[in-house]
């Protein structure tokens, strides 16, 4: 048979690999900064762009989409070409993908600190960037699928299944969660509100974990682990079973982020049971990874690459067991809103994504530069300090979460909250925050070792942009669908495979989203709930800009310990005008849903100037610029119009009078401040923010059901 000669594109792999390390260092340094800010609030140097609320989204986005994202693409471009025995179909698209993705990252790194954010976790980027993401992602998808179609290998290897599922699912998630209406060049409101928005958001965010941090990495594991260990994959049928089970079940589990909230009970229960059902399919991946090492365990001992991979896969197994446990309502009641969740996320991110990335890079760079790793010893040291870093990171947070949660829930014998002052529960766990930052520091120190080692390795070797290869062309042969061979049949048909995967992942989402959107009884209407006034709307946007939702929840759960502390628990009908919802996911500060009327305007004013004036020892950052920034009232009409388009009942032409109402309300607040000894201009940001806080949760006060 005629053998064809061709070459693999190694350049794009190299570019993505370098970007991985570059953004990895940056993303983690930002993470360390905010970890330190949690006990040294001064570390933002009084600069708005460096405050916790604005840097936190930058950290998560950088680590997920820049560090892990670039690794995914490096690994995919390397492995797809080789298991398909062909070059990527379009060098142009590969280049476009690389530079487009980096451009998006830079855009994120600029806009997020500036306060342009949608507030939706891991989807904070504003609409123009969302569109860029869609374009670049589709370019990648076309490049991927078309290359697979053109392959010289009869069947698609399991890694490719995971890549295909990744592409189709992320496309669906990104599009649905970005349905928003622009209200300015870098401002938009999601078309969904309240409960629906929350459900869409967590369906998205949960599956971003599933289909960005998990499935592509499983694909990488299926290529690089057997390569590095030089062992056959343990079980082909296990691959099939766990692949389909995983992608089908994962999509349902989003509501486990919303347990005990105003989400309807049935949706919460679906979140719980599908999370439990996910244990086995997730462990299927871990098993296939670990058992592939059968007969190679003696080599793990002195091969740092395998060590990294083994611990990564084990961390994957641990966090996919922990996750379902946290989805049980009784456990969730304790851990939710606490640092436990952060510990859990980092076990996955640092352990599974981080360590697997390092393992792959230590294997890939010497191979592409045709040399040996510069220092095995350094790699070993890196392995130990990053593992230690993970331990020091996660375990203190587990304790912090548990301690704080129990303090929130503790009643005295007389039935009164033992720790009514929220801050007391924060100060209690500061030592744990300090330990956590030590863990983070160790991990980052490790990545510097890695960079050094790999640069030295590359210097030693010689890189070849195009690697020569040869393979026989694929001969078309007729084959029929036979019983017992269905999957083999499907493995020859990438397009059908992609379509089937799409159908499989759509089911869960549709079953949960559509009824929540259409069935009225899911969100009982409350008469007294009215749209925000223009001033409150501006205040809400400032709340979003400053990222207050990264520290404050707005969802009082139906527990006695919470209704005693905050007031009546939150009802679904209260959020119908909340575009976007701002329930939050972490209580570094107290819940704010019943904040309205709790304190005087003066209290808030002084608290924003410097929280420690009102709450000695507070770790909330000061916001002095809110007192001096003037409110941008020129955008009022655009905001009112956008809100009306998505169903908020502002009257006809209200946009023309809105600013008058706004000034009246602002003047009233300024007058009240003046009466209490604080002269303040009514046109400042802080006035709007106070108006918003004083409105929060007051629509149903008094008419408890």
């Amino acid at each position: 048979m005629q053998v064809e000669k061709f070459s693999y594109d190694n350049l794009v792999v190299k570019q993505f690999a370098i970007a991985t390390l570059f953004w990895g260092v940056i993303g983690m340094l930002v993470g360390l900064t905010i970890a330190l800010q949690l006990y040294i609030p001064e570390l933002n140097f009084g600069i708005p762009y460096l405050t916790f609320g604005r840097l936190r989204p930058l950290h998560t986005n950088a680590v997920i989409f820049a560090f892990v994202g670039n690794m995914i693409f490096a690994g995919i471009y390397y492995s797809v070409q080789r298991v398909c025995k062909t070059r990527m179909i379009s060098d142009f698209l590969s280049k476009f993908h690389f530079w487009g993705w980096q451009f998006i990252i830079v855009a994120a790194a600029i806009t997020l600190p500036l306060g342009f954010t949608t507030s939706k976790e891991y989807a904070e980027l504003e609409w123009p960037i969302d569109i860029m993401i869609a374009v670049v992602w589709l370019a990648f998808g076309y490049n991927l699928i078309a290359t697979i179609v053109k392959r010289r290998e009869k069947h698609m290897y399991v890694a490719l299944w995971f890549y295909i599922a990744t592409f189709v699912t992320i496309t669906v998630l990104h599009v649905v969660n970005s349905l928003e209406i622009p209200a300015g060049i870098l401002k938009s409101y999601p078309i969904f509100a309240g409960v629906q928005d929350a459900l869409v958001q967590w369906w998205y965010a949960h599956n971003a974990v599933a289909f960005f941090l998990t499935t592509p990495f499983l694909g990488l594991m299926y290529y690089f682990l057997p390569k590095a260990a030089n062992r056959p994959v343990y079980s082909y049928r296990l691959s099939i079973l766990h692949f389909w089970a995983l992608i089908f079940l994962y999509i349902w589990a989003g509501p486990h982020h919303l347990l005990y909230t105003a989400l309807p009970d049935w949706a919460q229960s679906l979140g719980t049971v599908f999370s439990i059902m996910l244990i086995a399919p997730s462990w299927g991946g871990m098993l296939n990874g670990l058992l592939t090492l059968r007969g190679a365990w003696d080599r793990v001992r002195d091969n740092p690459i395998l060590k990294f991979m083994v611990v990564a896969v084990t961390a994957y197994g641990m966090s996919t067991f922990e996750g379902p446990m946290l989805s049980l309502k009784s456990v969730n009641a304790i851990t939710h809103y606490t640092d436990w969740t952060i510990g859990h996320a980092h076990l996955g991110a640092l352990g599974w994504n981080g360590l697997l990335t390092f393992g792959i890079l230590y294997w890939l760079i010497p191979v592409m530069w045709k040399t040996e790793l510069y220092s095995k010893k350094l790699a070993n040291v890196h392995f130990w300090i990053s593992t230690l870093g993970i331990v020091f990171y996660s375990i203190p947070l587990y304790w912090a979460g548990l301690t704080q949660s129990l303090m929130w829930k503790q009643f005295t014998e007389l039935g009164v909250l033992q720790y009514p002052n929220f801050l007391e529960t924060v100060l209690q766990i500061i030592p744990m925050y300090i330990l956590r930052s030590v863990g983070g520091f160790l991990f980052i120190a490790g990545i510097f070792l890695c960079v050094y080692n790999l640069v030295k390795t590359a210097k030693k070797g010689s890189f070849e942009k195009n690697e020569e290869a040869e393979a026989a062309p694929l001969i078309k042969e007729a084959d029929k669908l036979k019983r017992g061979m269905i999957h083999r049949w499907l493995e020859k048909r990438p397009i059908k495979f992609a379509l089937l995967a799409t159908v499989v992942i759509l089911i869960g989402g549709l079953v949960e989203l559509i009824p929540t959107y259409l069935v009225k009884s899911n969100i009982p209407t409350i008469e007294s709930v009215k749209p925000y006034t223009p001033l409150e709307l501006h205040g809400r946007d400032i709340y979003i800009r400053e990222g207050c939702n990264t520290c404050h929840s707005q969802m009082v759960r139906p527990f006695r310990s919470e209704t005693e502390r905050y007031g009546e628990y939150s009802k679904a009908g209260e959020f119908v005008y909340d575009h976007p919802f701002l329930w939050g996911s972490k209580r570094t500060g107290p819940d704010l849903h019943r904040q309205g009327g709790k304190y005087s305007n003066v209290w808030h004013y002084l608290h924003f100037e410097d929280p420690r004036q009102m709450s000695p020892g507070s770790i909330m950052p000061p916001y002095p610029w809110l007192l001096t920034n003037s409110l941008d009232t020129s955008s009022t009409s655009a905001k009112i119009n956008a809100m009306r388009t998505i169903g908020v009942p502002y009257g006809e032409e209200y946009e023309n009078f809105a600013n008058k109402d706004l000034m009246n309300q602002a003047n009233a607040i300024a007058d009240d401040l003046l009466n209490n000894g604080i002269p303040a201009d009514p046109d400042k940001d802080v006035i709007a923010l106070i108006a918003y806080l004083q409105r929060l949760g007051t629509d149903i006060k008094g008419n408890k059901k």
Binding site: Y157, W283, L388, W399, L414, P431, P558, T563, G597
Partner: protein, 272 residues
């Protein structure tokens, strides 16, 4: 290798030590239970890890090591996998860039876990949403509140839990001292160090807006006067503390501080 090990031991010791101090600082009853649960969970996790280590810690040179045979048999039984030496039998013909695949049986324990969780899921949904025998969150909440109210009633009846009807002023120096502490921490900002009044009214004269005497004072502390900015303290201070601070406030009577606010409200005379 050695250095790594010591490093690791020291770090673990440090870590454990820091939790130790953390843990006992909070010192609650509930913490005890959770501690136990955590301990059990930790033991289980360690067990699982050891078990996995045993199952996977197989070397190539198993031949001579007879004492390992039972473990290997056990593993075989659990995973039903084909031993490494015979893996040619289940090696698939494909070769993807040098990667080959075996076709081991799916481990029986894995299938049990998989189908077990599915069955569990179906039962869960049935219990909560078909037969309605589990309590969904609102029911759960109402039950919790009802229980708390019930316990409170008992406390009130037994006289431990005083309220605005049963409260009496105290002269006990210990109680007054406690009252002073509470006052300094919570009330001073609005009523002044000496009770002369700032944002809030003067507490030293015999004129009271909402009635004088310990019972009325207790009531105002407990429920607050929200429209005027006095917040309700009943979720933050237990009744004994409200009594203590109320009693302390009464010690201001007739002190006439230098910058006291003008009297407000009605003159109060103790009628009983």
């Amino acid at each position: 290798m050695k250095i790594n090990k010591y490093f690791f031991y020291i770090a673990t010791a440090l870590l454990l030590f820091s939790f130790h101090t953390q843990l006992f600082a909070a010192g609650d009853d509930a913490l005890d239970n959770v501690m136990k649960t955590m301990l059990i969970a930790t033991i289980i996790v360690i067990g699982i890890v050891l078990w996995l280590a045993v199952i996977y810690s197989e070397k190539n040179d198993i031949d001579g090591q007879t004492f390992k045979a039972p473990l290997i048999k056990f593993r075989q039984w659990l995973t039903k996998s084909t031993p490494v030496e015979r893996e040619q039998e289940i090696l698939l013909s494909h070769d993807y860039d040098g990667i080959k695949e075996l076709d081991n049986r799916i481990p029986p324990w894995f299938s049990a876990l998989f189908y077990g969780t599915i069955i569990w899921g179906i039962i869960y949904l049935m219990v909560f949403h078909v037969f309605d025998s589990g309590s969904v969150q609102e029911k759960e909440y109402l039950a919790e509140v009802q229980q708390a109210n019930f316990e409170k009633q008992i406390l009130i009846k037994s006289g431990v839990f005083i309220n605005e009807e049963t409260v009496t002023a105290s002269n006990d120096p210990a109680v007054l001292n406690e009252g002073k502490e509470i006052y300094t921490k919570n009330c001073l900002a609005c009523h002044g160090q000496d009770g002369g009044g700032l944002v809030g009214p003067n507490l030293t004269d015999e004129f009271w807006i909402h009635g004088g005497g310990i019972k009325n004072i207790f009531k105002v502390i407990k429920y607050g006067v929200p429209q005027k900015g006095m917040i309700s303290w009943q979720t933050q201070l237990d009744p004994n503390k409200m009594k203590a601070v109320g009693s302390y406030i009464l010690t201001f009577q007739g002190t006439k501080p230098a910058n006291g606010k003008q009297p407000e409200g009605e003159k109060w005379t103790e009628s009983n």
